[in-house]
């Protein structure tokens, strides 16, 4: 059951200027697509379109051959989107945050799985401290714990390396290559050199228009 996300002649206008025009994107199982470009070239907007959040764009967007609008539920069930903000409530503990995400995915509550995911993300011992008292890097790790807690075929990650220390970066790179080898696919924007990963295709934005 492979995964195929295809966008044809994608164009998006933001405040009367064309961020990108006539863009073709193809993502297959096992591939990592890295979106690059200077600030303001529309990287986040492209990620929001490809993750089905934005729908005022021109062009066609298909998931496994079906227009995204038609199979939105299936698409969302297989998508894991991490935006600039980690999406972790400061008032809740990491465990409670993860339990909510588990329920959001429709899965039964499983505290043991949450603890394992936190442990794998390097947050052993911080399961019950409110996220408000954790550092930005640790909050990012709570968000990254979702990658293993709720496995999804398509990862769309917007600057996931922000605030991560060296081990965090290494841990995330390991997860990316493992996910690609296991047949999943990733769309990622980062200013990090993804040295250790193979099969990384690049998509330049903000140049085609110059």
């Amino acid at each position: 059951m492979s995964l195929r996300l295809q966008a044809r002649q994608l164009a998006c206008e933001r405040d009367d200027r064309w961020l990108f025009d006539g863009l073709d994107v193809m993502l297959e199982s096992g591939e990592i697509l890295r979106v690059e470009g200077p600030n303001g070239s529309g990287k986040t907007t492209l990620l929001k379109i490809l993750s089905g959040q934005l729908d005022d764009y021109d062009g066609a967007l298909e998931f496994n051959g079906q227009p995204l609008r038609a199979c939105r539920d299936t698409f969302l069930a297989n998508l894991l989107y991490l935006g600039h903000a980690p999406g972790v409530k400061a008032g809740l503990t990491p465990l409670e945050n993860l339990a909510w995400y588990q329920a959001l995915g429709g899965e039964a509550p499983d505290e043991a799985a949450c603890e394992r995911a936190l442990n794998d993300a390097g947050l052993a011992g911080f399961e019950d401290t409110p996220a408000g008292r954790l550092s930005a890097g640790q909050n990012r790790r709570v968000a990254l714990a979702r990658l293993t807690l709720t496995p999804r075929a398509l990862w769309v990650l917007d600057e996931p390396f922000t605030a991560l220390d060296r081990e965090g970066v290494a841990m995330l790179e390991r997860r990316l290559s493992h996910h690609a080898k296991a047949g999943g696919s990733v769309i990622i924007t980062t200013h990090h050199a993804l040295g250790g990963l193979q099969r990384v295709r690049r998509l330049r934005l903000g140049e085609a228009l110059a």
């Binding site: 933001r14 405040d15 005022d56």
Partner: protein
Amino acid sequence: MWAIVHKFGSPQWFYRLSCRLEPWCWVLAALSLGAGGVWGLALAPADYQQGESFRIIYVHVPAALLAQSVFIAMALASLVFMVWKIKVADMAAAVMAPFGAAMTFTALFSGAVWGVPTWGTWWVWDARLTSMLILLFLYLGVIALRGAFSSRQSGARAASVLAMVGVINIPIIKYSVEWWYTLHQSATFSLTERPAMPASMWLPLLIMVVGFYSFFAALTLLRVRSEILRREGDKRWVRALKEIPS
């Protein structure tokens, strides 16, 4: 069906259509407003009870009717924009809102002024005037929301949602205000009950209503064309328009 909807919705098609329609609307508006004005002001008989101040009706009633029809038209345009993503519909909705607010204010002002000789005070919480005041707040809300967003697209879509939510509430607000007014029925004369008007009175009123509505149509066509020039300025067909002075 899809192709047709988009063909009719295309700015270029609409621009050509309104070029032909607009002059006729202006002519109709000028004629009926002129004739209706003269008839209502000078020829129609005064009301035996209220005297000459009754002539304000020829301005108050058309403005009040138009104020509500514009809101409904705006909500319909917003619905067309949200469902079929037709940009021209959003331009129409954006253009109608200020005119609707102006008509609501006219109705409020003329109603209040009419109240002075009949009730002796500027403002009376009459059911229809109160509904009209709330309608003005709804208009201001839609206009303010459309302008509050940095990007025009989301401002348009937010204003569309509010216009549709607003239009559902207009009858509810009207009903509840009518009911509220009858509960606090003060002894003063209210605009709602009036003896049926003889033909010599409602005919000029009808002409004035036709005048107001054709004015609204002509103004909307003109201002939507301007919106098209503003938003589609970089399109080839706009640059090729002969109206642009070279």
